[in-house]
């Protein structure tokens, strides 16, 4: 649900990074935070446990500049990936404009990817969204690990609708901005369609 403020001439969009626990969602937005010009970003908020596992969400506001005279702001959120935090994930999906699914490429995590993806579909549906129509990007993270499955195999199992897919190593920044750009583009094109 984009928030358009004609009075302040601002567009605000919400992007949520979803995926299994320890898949690299927080690493993605931390990298974006580190590499973004200080004038274009707000504070990175992490509601995490003492061991740095996301407890509720991470939040990063980004100011991407003007489009058609409107300041364009993206609010990036991550959900907690661990299975038992489902109630929190549902809350964070409220009002979402676009979703990035961060999949873990390690063979041993494929089942966790699939479970998280099913959970995403279900939680979106509960909010009245449909994964098939919402702006959606698939990121295959941890491509540098020796146990990474072939990208084609992951695509076969995880791709839903011909969504843009990016190979990434979020800890090194590979693919992070490509993923963000792709989802931002899709959200803005959705805005162009209007109602």
């Amino acid at each position: 649900m984009t928030f358009i403020n004609y009075a302040a001439r601002e567009i605000n969009c919400k992007i949520v990074y979803y995926g299994p626990g320890l898949g690299g969602k927080t690493t993605n937005i931390k990298y974006v935070y580190e590499k973004t010009n200080p004038n274009s970003k707000g504070k990175l908020i992490s509601l995490a446990t003492e061991t740095d596992r996301t407890l509720f969400f991470d939040f990063l506001p980004l100011d991407l500049g003007e489009i058609r005279g409107f300041r364009t702001r993206f609010h990036l959120y991550t959900v907690p990936g661990q299975v038992f935090y489902d109630a929190s994930r549902k809350l964070i999906l409220k009002g979402v404009d676009g979703v990035v699914f961060v999949a873990d490429s390690q063979a041993a995590r494929m089942e966790a990817n699939l479970e998280s993806l099913r959970n995403l579909e279900l939680n979106l549906k509960e909010q009245g969204y449909d994964l098939r129509t919402i702006p959606y990007v698939l990121q295959l993270n941890k491509r540098d690990l020796p146990s990474a499955l072939p990208a084609e195999e992951m695509k076969r199992q995880l791709a839903k609708k011909g969504e843009p897919m990016f190979e990434a190593v979020a800890s090194k920044g590979t693919g992070v901005f490509e993923t963000l750009k792709a989802i931002a583009r899709m959200v803005l094109l959705e805005l162009r369609k209007g109602r």
Binding site: M1, T2, F3, I4, N5, Y6, A7, A8, I11, N12, K14, N37, G42, K43, I45, L47, F56, F57, F59, P61, L64, G65, I67, R68, G69, F70, T72, H75, A87, S88, L91, I92, K94, G95, Q127, G128, Y129, T133, F177, K181, A184, R185, L188, L189, L191, R192, G194, R195
Partner: protein, 164 residues
Amino acid sequence: MPSQDLVLHDEEYQKIREVISRLRSECNAKVVFLVDKNGQQLAASGELESIDTTALASLAAGNVAATDSLARLIGEKEFSILFHEGERDNLHISVVGGRVILVVIFDERSSLGLVRLRVKRGSTDLAAILEVMMKKSAMPRKAAAGGSPFSEITDEDIDKLFSD
């Protein structure tokens, strides 16, 4: 799509600003601001320089969302007011019209009783403005805005956003 985009026009924005500035002076509060339930800040008034309002908006919405869920878990519809007491500053959070969150930050120059009383009155005014805002948001954007500026977004416009 489950929820339409939220559109705030100048007319309602000015009215909201009037109500929250009045509320701030009536409450003797440091800051009053209004956030939608998804964490977007709608308007703010007061001593904002020292506060990261974007972060505050997101956290206030997260707080309300979590508390709403807690309420439902124990069979309550909602907890309509949240109050956080600090050593110097206090935070009063309430939901207006079921849709937006009104946050009042105040110190010893005010009191919880005064804030509660004024917020109750201010909320009625805000709810009426929000009603109009939601109706306008539901209108096709072209009709509401005299032509949507977004229908002409080009690929180049989007590329420019990421140029640096």
